[in-house]
């Protein structure tokens, strides 16, 4: 999927460290909408929003939404059926 306005998971690497406690750019996610698998670094990322939105590169389905509500990170990763920790 090409959206020239979007970034990729590298852009939120720091946020993912805050949320998950470690580097997640090489963690492999499986899209719950279409089954595509790939590293989080290759997710289609929107950061110019009230939260961070990660979409599947194959089908644009929502993988993960991260918001920060009063210093608490809220993560919804229901779009991922699997997220494999990095090797």
């Amino acid at each position: 999927m090409t959206d020239s306005q979007a970034l990729d998971g590298n852009a939120i690497a720091g946020t993912l460290v805050e949320v998950f406690g470690g580097d997640m750019t090489t963690a492999i996610g499986t899209c719950g909408h279409c089954g595509a698998r790939g590293p989080m670094a290759e997710g289609v990322v929107y950061t110019r929003a009230p939260g961070v939105v990660v979409r599947c590169r194959s089908c644009t389905g929502l993988l993960m939404v991260i918001t920060q509500v009063h210093d608490v990170f809220c993560v919804d990763a229901l779009g991922l059926v699997e997220l494999q920790a990095p090797a």
Binding site: M1, D3, Q5, A6, V44, Y46, R48, A49, P50, G51, V53, R55, T60, V65, T67, V69, H70, C74, D76
Partner: protein, 201 residues
């Protein structure tokens, strides 16, 4: 303790009347583009706007029918929950009072829905009384797709995430249902003057 960066000001507008700035906001000169997904690109031929749900029958307008409705140009300040505010923005659109005229309903809530799947919820009352429009022009030009064109909801008295880009209709409902950002912890109502950014604020 966060260190102050010498000489950094950002791109804020100076000389702004503080009475126009809700708490926690910074006034910008730009018009930032915020998105949760790719910009939809549809054709006006297939565009329609529908009011459905708790109504006797759905009311739908094609683009031509929509353009034939009375519209007005308004100047308003807008406030984004990400802390930027932009003053004196000029929009042209059809008032929701016009669109809701003749629509009979016992609904008290609305979910606005858009191309791309975005939704946001608000009380039906907040769409009335000259406080909301379906806007198709910004700054005297057709609304650019990245800012929600061909048409977006405009509800300036609430945080701007409620002004759904690429809006295609309203679902009138008896119960309030959280929309996209409301479901991720953002405030159900979103009054910038009471700084209602997050649920529970």
């Amino acid at each position: 303790m966060t260190r102050i960066t010498r000489g950094f000001h950002g791109r804020r507008r100076p000389d702004v009347d503080p009475a126009r700035v809700p708490p926690g906001q910074y006034v910008t000169q730009d018009f930032p583009v915020l998105s949760a997904g790719p910009t939809p690109h549809g054709s006006l031929d297939s565009w329609s706007f529908t009011i459905r749900g708790q109504v006797d029958q759905p009311h739908t307008w094609t683009w031509d029918e929509f353009q034939a409705l009375p519209h007005e140009t308004v100047t308003r300040d807008i406030h984004c929950v990400t802390k930027w505010s932009k003053l004196d923005t000029v929009w042209t659109g059809v008032s929701l009072d016009t669109l809701l005229d003749g629509v009979e309903t016992s609904a008290e809530y609305v979910t606005a829905f858009s191309d791309g799947g975005y939704t946001t919820n608000l009380p039906l009352e907040d769409l009335t009384g000259g406080r909301a429009w379906i806007a198709f022009s910004y700054d005297d030009e057709p609304l650019h797709p990245e800012h929600g064109g061909p048409a977006r909801l405009l509800v300036p008295h609430l945080y701007f995430w409620k002004s759904a880009k690429w809006v295609r209709g309203l679902e009138l409902q008896l119960e309030d249902e959280p929309g996209f950002w409301e479901g991720y912890g953002y405030h159900n109502y979103g009054d910038p003057w009471r700084e209602q950014r997050y649920a529970g604020d």
